[in-house]
């Protein structure tokens, strides 16, 4: 029923719709008038042997046809404007809405589903609406008009029409009641075949390695066979439709002629009127055919409308405060005070009572195993999510009291999965600061270790980046994403596991360059590799959403068991390196030192 709410988007087209109604009325009247004149030509012209009647009525018919045609063109014009205009407004509305959503809404709907709703669903609505506006208005006019006309001509034959229309509706209903569940099944089987094929394609190497080609072929064959069977059933069912329709039409005309002949004989009906009746019967049948098709089509299209309405009905959970506060300081101090966060509807919070401070001029790093909540934690700072409990302060102001734009303007965020937008390399770096000069862009690229590969591209900074950055490698994407954040020159940097696609050498160079660039700024780093964060001023260790240790690397090695476990699993290399430098009997840290010197 949410679909009905979409009706309000028709408001700007009120007059268009009224005009369409009038034109449709004109069009159907014209179409329905033609058989009348035809009857006159027969009754008075042919039977009455008067050529003048024939010509004068012919002329009138011509004018009527012209009028009807003009009305129809008008309806077509209005219908296309209304349908596409409605779709445009709706598309605009839903996209603006989705853009205002926080990650919470993205999680509930899923990104893929939101994309479909903004694109395919709207397109579907537009197509169906275009068709409906032309047909849905006309069919009832036509059906009712034809019945009235026919009834006026020969009430005694109305039962023929009733039977014909009844049979028609019965056949269509039966066919579709049988077929519609099969349509759903068909869609599932198509998906299944796609799935099997995709699996075969992605697993090609494994399949060949295990010599299981024939197994996969058999699997494909089953999916293929199932799809073919259902398809065959549905096709053979739907093939009934056309012959059945033709049969109804033809039998109706025979019935009209047979019954009409008797009436003519009794003198209660004129020949021309009988023929006109026949035509009205056909028009009525077609109108009802259309109406039943509309009844089948609308529910299917309304699925799309429902999905769109659902999005429009959803309010973004994160909104700007009514009276936003502008933080007086501009340093980049980040404080977590007893922060707890859980996803809506989840039983357990993801983060429990977090307390820490990230100070300007220092690097604060977050480590912990997968699922410990590191990424979620940093996502709270730019308010991608709102805390469930506690407060996050940036420059001593609660982030919820600031405008989102002001808050985010202070933050340079580099996500886990590097995302680029289509355009060129420079556009992407400038996304951080649209006013950045060419020099600033180059400088950012330099620091992000991206200038080498940019230099190798044919058009340098102007080289095109395709949608989603598909034409650059993962490591290059990550470096450009870092350059983008640098170009913004923010007070707070957030690197959410942003160095994972870089090889170790680039990683090391980058960190060295970053150190200078981020001097005096607050840097927050989420990392998997201990080596990346080993030099951080503060390391926050997370385990199952709680902070289990804070301190420097050496402090934590001594005090925090979880950290020691993580470090030893990764730094087993270090022990080996120590072994290499033959300082086995030295203390652990000393060993590392000498390893470094030895190399």
């Amino acid at each position: 029923m949410k679909t009905l709410k979409l009706l309000k988007y028709f408001a700007p087209y009120k007059w268009f719709l009224i005009l369409m109604l009038i034109l449709t009325y004109g069009q159907t009247t014209a179409t329905l008038a033609l058989p009348d004149y035809m009857a006159r030509i027969i009754n008075q012209g042919i039977v009455g042997q008067d050529s003048n009647v024939i010509f004068s009525n012919g002329l009138i018919m011509l004018l009527i046809a012209l009028f009807g045609g003009a009305c129809m063109v008008g309806v077509g014009y209005l219908a296309s404007k209304v349908a596409t205009g409605f779709a445009m407004r709706l598309r605009d509305e839903i996209f603006t809405k989705v853009e205002s959503f926080s990650l919470l809404e993205f999680n509930t709907f899923s990104t893929a589903s939101l994309i479909t709703r903004c694109t395919n669903d709207i397109q579907q609505i537009q197509t169906v609406l275009g068709m409906l506006l032309r047909l849905a208005l006309m069919a009832p006019f036509m059906g009712v008009g034809a019945i009235i006309k026919a009834y006026q001509l020969a009430p005694s034959m109305a039962w023929i029409m009733a039977i014909a229309i009844g049979t028609l509706i019965l056949i269509i209903a039966t066919l579709f009641i049988t077929a519609i569940p099969k349509f759903t099944q068909l869609q599932k089987l198509v998906d299944r075949l796609n799935l099997v094929t995709r699996e075969i394609l992605t697993g090609l190497r494994v399949i060949r390695a295990f010599n299981t080609e024939s197994y996969e072929e058999a699997k494909f064959k089953n999916a293929n066979q199932d799809l073919t069977d259902v398809n065959l059933f549905v096709n053979r069912l739907m093939v009934i439709m056309q012959p059945a329709m033709m049969l109804i039409l033809n039998l109706t005309s025979i019935a009209v002629v047979w019954v009409g002949a008797q009436q003519i004989n009794m003198g209660s009906l004129q020949i021309g009127d009988m023929l006109a009746f026949m035509q009205y019967a056909m028009q009525a049948i077609f109108a009802f055919l259309m109406i039943s098709i509309i009844f089948i089509m609308v529910p299917r299209a309304s699925v799309s409308a429902e999905r769109v309405a659902e999005v429009l009905d959803t309010e973004a959970t994160i909104k700007d405060p009514k009276r936003p506060i502008k933080a007086p300081l501009n340093k980049g101090l980040v404080e977590f005070k007893d922060v707890t966060f859980g996803y809506a509807g989840a039983e357990e919070p993801v983060l429990h009572h977090l307390n820490f401070t990230a100070v300007p001029g220092e690097t604060t790093a977050f480590v912990g195993s997968t699922g410990s909540g590191k990424s979620t934690l940093v996502n709270l700072i730019p308010r991608f999510y709102d805390v469930t409990d506690g407060t996050i302060l940036v420059d001593e102001v609660n982030v919820r009291d600031m405008r989102q734009e002001d808050l985010r303007a202070r933050i340079g965020y580099v996500s886990q999965k590097a995302v680029l937008f289509s355009g060129n390399v420079e556009d992407n770096i400038k996304y951080g600061d649209p006013k950045a000069t060419r020099d600033e862009v180059s400088h950012a690229a330099e620091i992000a270790q991206a200038s080498d590969f940019i230099g190798q591209l044919e058009d340098g900074l102007e080289s095109p980046i395709s949608q989603g950055g598909a034409n650059v490698s993962g490591g290059q994407k990550q470096r450009l994403a870092i350059a983008r954040a640098l170009a913004k020159k923010p007070e707070i940097y957030i690197f959410d596991d942003s160095f994972s696609s870089l090889d170790f050498k680039t990683d090391a160079n980058l960190r060295k360059a970053l150190e200078k660039e981020t001097k005096g700024k607050t840097v927050l780093i989420v990392a998997q590799r201990i080596s990346t964060i080993i030099q951080a001023e503060k390391i926050v260790v997370l385990e199952a959403g709680s902070i289990v240790g804070q301190g420097t690397h050496s402090e934590l090695l001594r005090t925090c068991a979880v950290y020691r476990e993580i470090a030893s699993s990764q730094l087993s290399e270090a022990e080996l390196a120590r072994a290499l430098s033959e300082t086995d009997d030295q203390a652990y840290q000393g060993g590392q030192l000498s390893t470094g010197e030895a190399l």
Partner: protein, 679 residues
């Protein structure tokens, strides 16, 4: 007239496309430009080859289609005759009434009195006043009783018509029934052939293409072909039969009316050409804008966090609005123009209708034709337009079908993997010694990336392949498994050139655990048993235990019987890796290919994976794409790769001693942070 003037009849379910639901697929958006095939004739010839096994059915389809059409075509003429009978009976009655009314009051006409006899009795002056045509009617009248409509005759004709209509419907249905069978079977065969072909193509083919490309062969292209077969084939026959048949019958009724009716055609063709030309331009524009807007939506929504983080919301919405407005401009125009077809066709049809009504009326008044003929004629005219529109469109349909079929056939004609050796050598029980002798290889002939690799690996040794991301570490895997063949030199397993073995025999010697854990939609047990088709449950459990997977599998709902979903994301990345290790464990091969990379795996699982891999490698010749220093250091041979080349090889100590690429890689990776850590 007894004719349906089906205003907006084009929507009538002529050709239901069940897969898309009633007409929702193409909708009113007709007029999109058709895709053109490169080689129409050749493609059609191949397609005909696919149809050959069904020639009997197709012949039956053709016969039924022609028969059904012919029955449908003769019916209006017969119905016209019925009307004629009614009209003549009615006119006779009227004339009789007139004659009787003019007789002196009370006079009775004796039996056997005819119009001719009566006229003889009348004074000539009276006779002259009667119009000539009426006179003729009177002459043939039997005046002994009031003439009525010939119900016996009409009844006979009506029964004949009912029979013809029933037969026509029956044949039409049979035709459709058989054709659905044929087209579905051909579709099935096409898909089957594609799936078989996938196994025969070299990996080179797939590495150069996206999966989507191959996927769309199986789905979209095959569907297009199938739909054409289902509809167009019988449509062509029906349309052509209809056009010819109707033309003949129309000519027998009245050549003058036929000329008028045909005059209408060029008018509609010119109008349609004009509109289609225009609407295609807008249609293309619309598709372009649609592509742009979908691209923008996809991009912005997938990069939502980044967009938010950089305050890009307004920028994004502004860009969206401008594309949206652009889209609206072309969308309404293309919808309007393509929607114009219907009213114009209908108006032209109405023109013809009026012309025929007027001309027919005039001819009838002059006694050239009968009312029933006009009625039949108008019915024929209506039936005439649709097949002509269809025939005009058939060229387009055939073209886009040929384009789709061509892509399918091109795929089926792709060059297959090099044939197996004529007399393949089978290693009974391999020990696992591998030699690379002078191996030269490049993915393309212009770019050689491995230039003369020589290495000898004894059974049970461990080879580490190292290098930065994107250095081409999988190349070695590709060569060992013969996913690709070496360009020069040879790779030998236990002294046998791998090209002399059957591919399947060679691959049976290797177990493979890649970073990209390929699992399929099925139970966990099925996935583990994948490496050994007749494995018992016990063996599966044993393998899982050895791979440290048994424990977590037991904790899952359903245990070994748990279904992995389509994305296989109902188990974690690390668990997936353990399952693939179990799979390799069960396959129990003398040689192994491993990828150590474990991204997004938590520390504890990583430890498990490490130990499972270690256990798996024991006693097996292993090629490891190495990420861990311990693996690298303990390797018997390290192959160092950079930009696709093997730039260095040797043991850890040897390579450090060389102080080359490996040394710099090693230093940057492991040394620096350790210094900093203490600093």
């Amino acid at each position: 007239m007894s004719t349906a003037r089906p205003n907006s009849a084009p929507i009538a379910p002529q050709n239901p496309r069940p897969a898309m639901g009633m007409g929702m697929g193409r909708g009113p958006m007709m007029g999109g430009p058709a895709e053109k095939p490169k080689n129409f004739k050749g493609t059609m010839r191949t397609l005909v080859k696919y149809l050959r096994p069904f020639r009997l059915s197709i012949t039956a389809v053709l016969i039924f289609a022609i028969a059904s059409t012919m029955f449908a075509i003769v019916s209006p003429k017969i119905l016209g005759n019925v009307t004629n009978k009614i009209v003549s009976g009615y006119v006779d009655g009227k004339v009789y009434d007139q004659v009787v009314s003019k007789l002196p009051r009370g006079m009775q006409l004796p039996p056997g009195m005819t119009g001719a006899k009566l006229l003889k009795l009348m004074p000539p002056s009276d006779i002259q006043r009667i119009p000539a045509k009426e006179l003729e009617t009177i002459k043939s009248l039997d005046l002994s009783k009031r003439p009525t409509i010939d119900f016996g005759g009409i009844g006979g004709l009506a029964m004949l018509l009912v029979g013809l209509y029933l037969l026509s419907a029956l044949f039409s249905y049979l035709q459709g029934w058989i054709m659905s069978g044929v087209s579905q079977k051909v579709t099935f065969n096409l898909r089957r052939d594609i799936s078989l072909k996938i196994s025969l193509l070299p990996l080179r083919y797939f590495d150069n293409r996206t999966h989507g490309e191959v996927l769309s062969r199986v789905t979209n292209d095959v569907d297009t072909v199938s739909q054409t077969l289902n509809q167009s084939l019988s449509q062509i026959v029906t349309s052509v039969t209809t056009i010819i048949g109707i033309l003949i019958i129309m000519l027998t009724i009245s050549w003058q009316m036929t000329v008028v009716a045909l005059l209408v055609l060029p008018v509609s063709i010119v109008l349609i050409k004009l509109i289609v030309g225009r609407s295609q331009g807008y249609f293309v524009q619309q598709q372009v804008s649609l592509g742009k807007i979908n691209g923008h939506v996809e991009e912005m929504l997938s990069g939502h966090t980044v967009m938010k983080a950089f305050n890009g919301e307004q920028r994004s919405v502004a860009a969206f609005r401008s594309i949206n407005t652009e889209l609206y401009g072309s969308a309404w125009r293309s919808q309007f123009l393509s929607g114009l077809m219907m009213p114009i066709m209908q108006f032209v049809g109405n023109l013809g209708y009026v012309a025929v009504a007027v001309l027919g009326g005039w001819l009838a008044v002059n006694g050239k034709i009968n009312i029933g003929d006009i009625q039949a004629f108008i019915q024929y005219m209506n039936q005439f337009t649709q097949p002509i529109a269809q025939t005009a469109n058939i060229a387009n349909v055939l073209q886009s079908t040929a384009a789709a079929a061509e892509r399918v056939f091109e795929f089926l004609a792709e060059e297959e993997e090099v044939a197996e050796a004529a007399q393949p050598v089978a290693l009974g029980k391999a020990r696992g010694g591998v030699e690379f002798e002078n191996v030269v290889f490049g993915y393309s002939p212009e770019k050689t990336i491995i230039k003369g690799l020589n290495a000898s690996i004894r059974p049970g040794q461990r080879v580490a392949i190292v290098g930065p991301t994107g250095a081409g570490k999988t190349t070695i895997v590709n060569l060992l498994m013969r996913f690709y063949d070496v360009s020069e030199g040879s790779i030998r397993v236990d002294g046998v050139d791998i090209r002399d073995m059957r591919r399947s025999d060679l691959r049976r010697l290797f177990g493979m655990v890649l970073q990209d854990t390929w699992l399929f939609n099925g139970t966990i047990e099925d996935n583990i048993a994948y490496g050994k088709s007749k494995a018992t449950h016990k063996e599966v459990v044993k393998a899982a235990e050895a791979a440290h997977a048994d424990h977590f599998i037991h904790a899952l709902p359903g245990g070994y019987k748990m279904e992995l979903n389509e994305e296989a994301d109902n188990v974690s990345q690390g668990e997936k890796q353990l399952i693939t290790i179990a799979r390799a464990m069960l396959a129990d091969t003398p040689m192994l290919i491993l990828d150590e990379a474990t991204s997004s795996v938590d520390t504890r699982t990583e430890t498990l994976i490490q130990s499972a891999m270690e256990r798996l490698m024991k006693g097996r010749t292993s090629f490891v794409i190495a990420h861990r220093l311990s693996t690298i250091r303990n390797a018997d041979l390290i192959l160092v790769m950079q930009d696709g080349n093997i730039v260095e090889q040797g043991t850890h100590d040897q390579l450090l001693g060389q102080n080359g690429f490996y040394a710099s890689l090693y230093n940057s990776q492991f040394a620096e942070p350790l210094v900093a850590g203490v600093a």
